[in-house]
């Protein structure tokens, strides 16, 4: 081994003290060459110093507050477990049945309400549905940009309003009618952690485009009709405080 070759492997020799055979020629060379013996001694000293430094830092770690903050962040960003196909089938079947039952009930109520209170049903509830391609628009009924309040005399709880939004067909007259302007747009799904105690009056439906993956994280299934696009249009139901409460896919 030449001095030049030794320079190339001197640190490897130091690092691999237990693997003698590949470096034996280097060690032999250093024994017969003062210059390379000095190099080897220096390299070993540095290696030992680095090991000492590693040992001195060995117990250092981040504070306990970091773990707590990360756990909180993890809970907020918790990834939704993908549902099994069988679970999805049952869920889909249940949703269809529930939706059908709600439609029948709403039609009955609407028919009954139409007989008794023909002017109380919403008249503007099919207005101004934006096209799916619009980046953002409000779905209005009555005042522009405002989500219509559930009319009297049948005040509904917020959960009922949201359920009505989810299942009522377009144009249906009902005392619960906060309609889905386009029936094919699907049902609103309440968002996790949404605060049902706040009223929806004064809120709005906002059309947005978002990543399909984000939508899926809300538990919504996204059709693969347009697999080339990663973006999809969705309606966000926001309350009067501006907090998103529910979401649906725009077909």
């Amino acid at each position: 081994m030449t001095c030049l070759e030794f320079e190339d492997v001197v640190h490897e020799i130091t690092r691999n003290t237990d693997v003698v055979s590949p470096w034996q020629r280097g060690l032999d060379h250093a024994q017969g060459c003062d210059r390379c013996a000095v190099l080897l001694a220096e390299a070993r000293a540095v290696h030992a110093s680095l090991r000492t430094l590693a040992g001195a830092d060995g117990g250092k770690q981040a504070g306990a507050g970091v773990e707590e903050a990360l756990r909180m962040a993890f809970r907020k960003n918790r990834v939704v477990v993908p549902a099994s196909p069988r679970w999805r089938q049952w869920a889909l079947g249940g949703m269809i049945l529930a939706g059908a039952a709600a439609v029948v009930l709403a039609l009955l109520l609407g028919f009954h309400g139409g007989l008794n209170h023909p002017q109380q049903a919403f008249t503007g509830n099919t207005a101004a549905q934006p096209s799916a391609g619009a980046p953002m628009a409000n779905e209005a009924s009555g005042a522009p940009g405002a989500l219509p309040a559930a009319p009297e005399p049948a005040p509904a709880t917020n959960s009922v309003q949201m359920a009505a939004v989810a299942v009522l067909p377009a144009g249906a007259n009902s005392t619960l009618a906060v309609e889905s302007a386009n029936a094919s747009d699907g049902v609103f799904t309440p968002l996790p952690d949404s605060d049902d105690s706040l009223p929806l009056e004064g809120g709005a439906v906002i059309r947005v485009t978002m990543q399909k993956s984000l939508l899926e994280s809300f538990g919504l299934q996204v059709s693969d009709d347009d697999a080339s696009s990663t973006q999809i249009a969705a309606d966000l139901l926001v309350d009067q405080a501006g907090m998103p409460r529910a979401i649906r896919v725009v077909q």
Partner: protein
Amino acid sequence: MIGPNELPDDELLRRMIAGDEDAFASLYRRRQGGLYRFALQMTGSTATAEDVTQEAFMTLIRDPKRFDADRGSVSAFLFGIARNHILRRMQVERAFVAMPEGHEEEFATSMKKRAGTHPGATENPAEILTRAETIDRVREAVLTLPATYREVVVLCDLHELSYEDVAAAIGCALGTVRSRLHRARNLLVSKLRTSAPNGANAAAELLTVINERAMRRAI
């Protein structure tokens, strides 16, 4: 039944993706120390090290599916994320971060504690001080290395990661890791010899020549 602490990293990550907080906590506890020390040894700042550790795991929480088992271990993946955060911070600060004040006292205290509690410790205060000084000199020498050399020294020599893992973490070829490490160690030898109380000697000069030659060959 196997507890989370006994599961391999990739299984913990899989469970974490499925929403298992305990799996995330186990992965964090297993890997946070290494990331924290990596950031500390790269920047010299405990505050930055803590921030980087948190940011690295936040990135994992937000986008865990970025991990690709074909490209390296979970550990290497995390070191890679931490490295990106460190480099970004260094770019922003545009300067090497000096060791914080009080570091030496903190270290001397820890050494005293270690000497007092370690069963085999028989060092006298002078030896402890000498060792503390040595460690400080090594730490400072590492911190003054250019970032590309510093990271390979920290990961290979201080954290004893395999060359493969280091290559995955810093996103370069195995041969690049080897050559950078070689040059980094030569630079370290030079720095340590010149910072020694007796000043530069023939070996340091020799290493400087070798290092320059290695640089020329690389170019």
